[in-house]
Every structure is written in C-alpha cells, then in structure tokens.
C-alpha cells in the first residue's frame, strides 16, 4: 500500500471517529488496570463512558465474573455499582456472594443488584442506569445467546454511556461473540495457579484473558492476576502456561494517525 493511500485511509478513519464521538465529553478518560502490557495496548487503560464485553464458556462463568468485578472495581472509583442480571444465571453459576466480593478487596456496600425477570427488562434497566451519572459502572449479566441484544440495543447502551460517562460492562456467559458497538471485547478463561508445592498458598485469582477487539489498538492474549490487597491487576508472578503472541502483522491505525498528525 502506498504512503498516499495509507494517509487517505487514516484521514478518513479520523473523520469517522470524530463524527462518531461528537458530543462525547468523557471519551478520553482511561483507567489503568495495572497490567503493563495490556495498559499499553489499551492506550493507558480501560476507557470510561463506553461498553466493554466479556465473553466466556458456561463453566468459566466465575472466572469471567471475577474479571468483570475487577474491571468494575478499577473503573467505578468509590461510586456505586449496579449489577443487573437475569434470574436464570443465578441458578446456573450461583449468586454473586458479598463475602466473596469483600475477599477480592472490593466493597460490597456499593453494590445494588437488580434481578430482572427477562432479557428485555434487563436491557431496559441497564440503558436507564447507564444514563444515571451517579453510578460508577453498570454490569449486565446475560446467560446464553440472546436474540434481543442486537446492534441496535448495543448502540443504545453505548450512546447512554457516552452521554453520562458511566461505564457499561457486559458479562456474557455461554454466548458467542457477535458484532456490537463495544469498545473492547474479551474472552475469559480461568488460568492455573503458578506451579509450586501442592500445599503452598495458592488461589489468587488468575485469568487467561484474550482481547478479541480493541477499537484503538492491538489485540492479544495475556495471563493476568488480580491483586486483592492493592485492588488492581498485575502481571503473573510466574508464567505457568504458554501464551499466544500478540498479532504483529497488522499496523495500529491509531498509532499511525498520531504519528502523522504529530
């Protein structure tokens, strides 16, 4: 591809980005997660005022819950958290336990739970909640592939989040990733505890997090650890299993654009 064409592409991309984000005040607020490489890829951290999706297989639901809780804990910064979920997912993976939350170093006092009977009311409640700027984050937990959560619904949530500055986290258990307006999309699996003697201390939450979509940077797959005392993610103390390399064949359009305008 010639330099001129690249530049034209980058200009167009910039224009589209400006159109899409017109009026969004909170766009450039980012919260560092604590994991160096991931923060680098995310250009400083997870974006506020956007929707982030976390997918997982059915039995990996708790790992994904822990990851989403960690993200919510980082991003909500002492503000209340609204957790919307369907009745069904509680039967399948268990109820969110407040003592478990406290054990992760997060504050159960700030969690308000909404038990929605069906997907429609869960979506509607989340859209309402995302528009309320008193909240730090809204988590929407859905089980299985949901027909009602299409591009239109996803766009609605994104607009609500952009307007208020509240971050939306979608926890999609046992679902297939589909196109949406999310800022980032992750697939979560539980990772092994680092090798050591069987009776030694273990059990710090460890996640095998794969970043599938990142609107402003590269994707990749990392092992992350949640540090319960400092309430942040970190690099694993020891690599216990091989990790796929980040795709290096695609240039990062955002980086290119910054370089060109600089």
């Amino acid at each position: 591809m010639s330099g001129a064409r690249m530049s034209a592409l980058a200009t167009l991309r910039g224009q589209i980005e400006r159109i899409e984000t017109a009026g969004a005040v909170h766009l450039h607020e980012r919260v560092a997660l604590g994991h160096g490489e991931i923060d680098g890829v995310l250009k400083g951290g997870l974006a506020r005022a956007a929707i982030h999706e976390v997918f997982c297989e059915g039995r990996q639901g708790t790992a994904a819950t822990g990851f989403v809780m960690g993200l919510a804990g980082r991003i909500s910064a002492q503000r209340p958290l609204l957790w919307v979920r369907q009745d069904f997912s509680e039967l399948e993976t268990g109820a969110l336990s407040m003592s478990g939350l406290a054990e992760l170093g997060l504050d159960p006092r700030r969690v308000v739970m909404v038990r929605a009977a069906d997907v429609e009311s869960a979506l509607r409640t989340s859209a309402d909640a995302l528009a309320c700027d008193a909240l730090g984050a809204v988590v929407l937990e859905l089980w299985g592939d949901v027909r009602q959560f299409d591009l239109v619904a996803s766009r609605k949530l994104t607009l609500a989040a952009q307007g208020s500055g509240v971050t939306g986290l979608m926890l999609r258990m046992a679902a297939q990733p589909l196109p949406s307006t999310a800022e980032t999309r992750w697939i979560l699996r539980a990772a092994h505890s680092p090798p050591g003697s069987v009776w030694s201390a273990w059990g710090t939450p460890r996640f095998d997090a794969e970043l599938l979509r990142n609107r402003h940077g590269l994707c990749g797959r990392w092992i992350m650890e949640w540090n319960c005392d400092e309430c942040q993610f970190s690099e694993p103390s020891t690599y216990s299993q091989p990790v796929a390399a980040t795709p290096a064949d695609r240039p990062d359009p955002a980086v290119l654009w910054e370089r060109r305008t600089a």
């Binding site: 039995r59 990996q60 639901g61 708790t62 790992a63 819950t65 822990g66 990851f67 809780m69 503000r79 209340p80 609204l82 509680e90 993976t93 268990g94 109820a95 969110l96 336990s97 407040m98 003592s99 478990g100 939350l101 406290a102 054990e103 992760l104 159960p108 006092r109 700030r110 969690v111 308000v112 739970m113 909404v114 038990r115 929605a116 009977a117 009311s121 509607r124 409640t125 309402d128 909640a129 309320c132 700027d133 008193a134 909240l135 539980a190 990772a191 092994h192 505890s193 069987v198 009776w199 201390a201 273990w202 059990g203 710090t204 939450p205 460890r206 996640f207 949640w226 319960c228 005392d229």
Partner: protein, 480 residues
C-alpha cells in the same frame, strides 16, 4: 338450603335458610343456582371500590352490606338526598337490588336499609325513626332475635322502652351496645377497607377520557396540585396511588413507592409513566374514565437541607431516584442491596433487602474485613442450595477428594487447601445440621471450587442400621 332469593321467590313465601327440598315442594319449577360465596365477596369488594368515588372511607359489612362515611362529603354531590339518589340509581342500573339509608350512626342506617330504604334521618331522630320496626331489623344473632320475640318485645321501640340493665342482664352487653348505637346513643367507628390517605386530589370528567395522552396530562396536573398542597405543610410522598374510575364501574388502582419522600411533580410523573408502561395487563379505558384520583397514602416531613458541597450526598439522591424508577417498573423486591448478618454459615452471611428502604443502611454496613495477603477464602459465586457431587474415594478418610463429578463432568483435583471446619449453629436450628468441612480445590483446567463434606467421617452420618455411612459431598461455591 337456600342462600339467597329474589323478590318473586320471597312473595311465594320461600325464605333464606329453608331446605331446598321444602322449597321445591312449594314451588316445583324453582330455578336453583349454586351459591358462590367467594364471587359474592368479590362483587361486594368491587362495589366498594366503585363507592370510593363518594368517600375514601368505605367499610365492608359482610355478607352484603357496605358502610360509607359521608361526613363532609355530601355537599360535593348536591346534598345527602342527591348523593343517595345518584348512588342507588347507578347501582340499580347495573342490576343490583339496593337498600340504602343515611343516618347519624352506622347501625341505625343499616337497620333502616332493611325496612325503609331511601330514608334520611336527621341527627337526633334515630330512635323515632326505627322504633316501629321489628327487632329482626337490628341484625343481631338469631338466638337473641328469637329470645326478644318470645319475651313479647316485637318492635325496636318495645326493646328501647326497657331499661338498659334489664336488656344487658338477659341478652348480654354486646346486644345492648348494638341497641344503643341503633338508637343514636353513641357510635362505633366503622373500619374502612383502606387507610385514609394523607392527601387526595381528584378530577372528574363530564366527558370520559380514554387516550393515553389525556390520562398522562391529567395525572401530571393532579401531581402538581398534590405537590402544592403537600408543600404547604412541608411533606413529601413515600407512597402514591392513582385510581382510575371507569364509566362502567370498574376501578383500577396503581401504586408506586419511593425510597425517599418525593417533593417534585416531575418525579411523580416519571414514576407513573414507568409504572403504566410496564403493566402486565395495561390500563383498559373501556368506554373511558370519568374520574381520576391521585392520593398520597404515606407521607413524611421533608427537611429542606442545605446542599452539601460533598458530591456524594447528591450522588446518593440520584441513585435513590434511579432505584425508585427501576422499582416502579419491575417491582420493589427486584432491586436489592445486601446487609451483613452476624453468622458464620456461608449462605446466611448476607441478607438481601429491598434497596428502596435499605439503601442508607447498606451504605453504612460493616462487612468483615479480609485477611491481608491471603488469597480469597470465600467464593465469588455461591449456590443458594449446595449442589451434590459424586466423590469416588478419598485417600485419607476425612481428607479431600482426588476427583469428583459435578453436573456430569469429571474434575481431577490438582490443588487442595483445607479443611476449614464450619459447625452449624446448634442454638438456632431445630433439626440437627451436620458439621461441614470445606476445601478450596483447583482442578486440572484451573477452575476453582469450594466443596464440603456434609458431616464428620464416621461421626455424624449413619445408615438405617446405625452403622457409620460415608458422608455426602457438595459444591457450595466457585472461586474466580
């Protein structure tokens, strides 16, 4: 047995309580319907709903009576006579046989409905109005009525002529009180079906309204008026009820509750639009509503606080408003916060409570602190009811399992931490519950479980012969 009958049957000499066979003998082509007490009660309560348009104080007098306290209401309908006429005519048009009367006391009015329907007794005229009626009209027990008749006291006037002490000695204090009330000497308060709301505003329409926009507009005007009258006394509403009176007599009441007192009509507007929007069976205007009433049934004094510079106070207000809106849509019990409980039984450690009423308490709650630099000791997801797992064997009898099957999938245990022994609270439970030994377990895939053995090995679980049986294993939670 005859439960109820119409006028024609009455003219033939049939009476309530008569055995059906006797009645058939007197009148072979009698048409009989099964009595449905529940349906009768429902109809009576529907009529009571409809009567709410005349006064908020309506009391049931089963099996087929209603008391309306119209003190201070009659002038709104053009006086007592006009009110009585409107009420009787409207009910008669629906096919009900109505006896109605107005008097100073409820018992006197009830006596009159049985003998002289349509009469209006001025204050102090109660005794004169009813003294010529038979004693049965008082509605006392069958035994007392018979007793009075046997004693030669045929009319209420006869009974009233006796001294109260004679009556009390023969028929009991309750009857003499009833008699005194019927004669206008003292009055028993009626017990209204609904508590009297603190504030009521209503709008009547000459031409019934049916469209959503009109209904919404009416509600928001009523909300303005309601707020204005509450504001004068520094009150805010915690519970609001909108009642829609349909032209055909059906009444639909819709209620919203709020977590903190509402003092702005826009908020009321929004709550009701959420609620109406989410109704499973939408408001059916039929031929239209001829009256809409908005009432605040629970109010609180609002302290006009100076706004703090602290942003959190404002945040909490907004959060409470959001919770109210969601609760209005999907129900108050579906929006919850958790309060810590002082117990070490894992599934009881957190108590779910409606967020509308317990938000402030939840924000202040003290949760047990975690142990620094330890991994999480409690699972992030907890099953309400522990799920049974199959454990083939354990190397040490009271040790952890090597592998287990949960939901038809085999899990090989790679790491174990435990046991953590949790004994049940013997001072609370009635039935004996078993001691649990909890293990934190990681399987080959990296999934982490919290599983427990229900009962001590060879100590608590026995089979039918009294020999020790292997205890059961359960998954209680999952770690992140």
């Amino acid at each position: 047995m005859i439960h109820a009958l119409d006028e024609t049957a009455e003219r033939l000499g049939l009476y309530i309580g008569q055995p059906l066979a006797n009645a058939r003998a007197m009148c072979p082509d009698l048409r009989v319907f099964d009595a449905d007490v529940a349906a009768d009660a429902k109809t009576l309560s529907d009529i009571a709903d409809w009567c709410d348009r005349f006064t908020p104080l309506v009391a049931l007098d089963p099996p087929h009576g209603l008391f309306l306290d119209i003190t201070g209401c009659a002038h709104l309908f053009g006086g007592e006579a006009a009110l009585l006429k409107t009420l009787v005519r409207a009910l008669a048009r629906q096919g009900f046989a109505v006896g109605a009367a107005i008097a100073g006391t409820s018992v006197c009015a009830r006596t009159l409905t049985r003998q002289a329907t349509g009469s209006i007794v001025p204050d102090g005229g109660e005794a004169a109005a009813i003294d010529r009626f038979p004693v049965s009209a008082l509605g006392a027990d069958e035994a007392i009525t018979t007793g009075l008749r046997r004693a030669g006291l045929k009319t209420i006037g006869d009974v009233a002529a006796r001294t109260p002490s004679e009556i009390t000695a023969r028929f009991g204090a309750r009857f003499s009180t009833l008699l005194a009330h019927a004669l206008g000497q003292g009055d028993a308060p009626i017990s209204p079906r609904k508590p009297l709301p603190d504030y009521i505003v209503e709008k009547r329409f000459a031409e019934p309204i049916a469209t959503d926009t009109m209904i919404a507009m009416t509600l928001s005007r009523l909300a303005d008026t309601l707020i204005a009258s509450m504001e004068k006394q520094g009150k805010g509403a915690r519970r609001l009820e909108a009642a829609f009176f349909r032209t055909d007599g059906a009444v639909r009441a819709i209620m919203v509750e709020t977590g903190r007192p509402v003092t702005r009509s826009a908020v009321i507007d929004r709550l009701f639009s959420e609620r109406l929007d989410a109704l499973a069976d939408p408001l059916d205007p039929g031929f239209g509503f001829d009256m809409v009433r908005l009432s605040a049934s629970r109010t609180e004094i609002v302290v006009q606080e100076q706004r703090d510079l602290d942003a959190h106070v404002h945040d909490n207000d907004e959060l409470a408003a959001l919770i109210d809106r969601i609760a209005a849509r999907i129900g108050g019990k579906r929006v919850i916060v958790h309060l810590p409980e002082d117990t070490h039984i894992p599934e009881q450690a957190a108590q779910a409570a409606p967020a509308q009423h317990h938000l402030a308490a939840a924000m202040q709650a003290e949760w047990p602190a975690r142990v620094e630099s330890e991994p999480p000791l409690r699972p992030l997801r907890l099953f309400d009811k522990p799920e049974p797992v199959t454990v083939p064997f354990a190397t040490v009898p009271d040790g952890p399992p090597h592998q287990f099957t949960w939901r038809r999938a085999k899990h090989a245990v790679v790491r174990v931490e435990g046991p953590e022994r949790i004994a049940m609270e013997w001072w609370r439970q009635d039935g004996k519950q078993l001691t649990r030994d909890y293990f934190r377990i990681e399987d080959a895939e990296g999934l982490r479980f919290w599983i427990f053995r229900d009962g001590l090995y060879e100590g608590e679980v026995f089979d039918a012969d009294g020999k020790p049986a292997p205890p059961n294993w359960y998954v209680h939670g999952l770690f992140a």
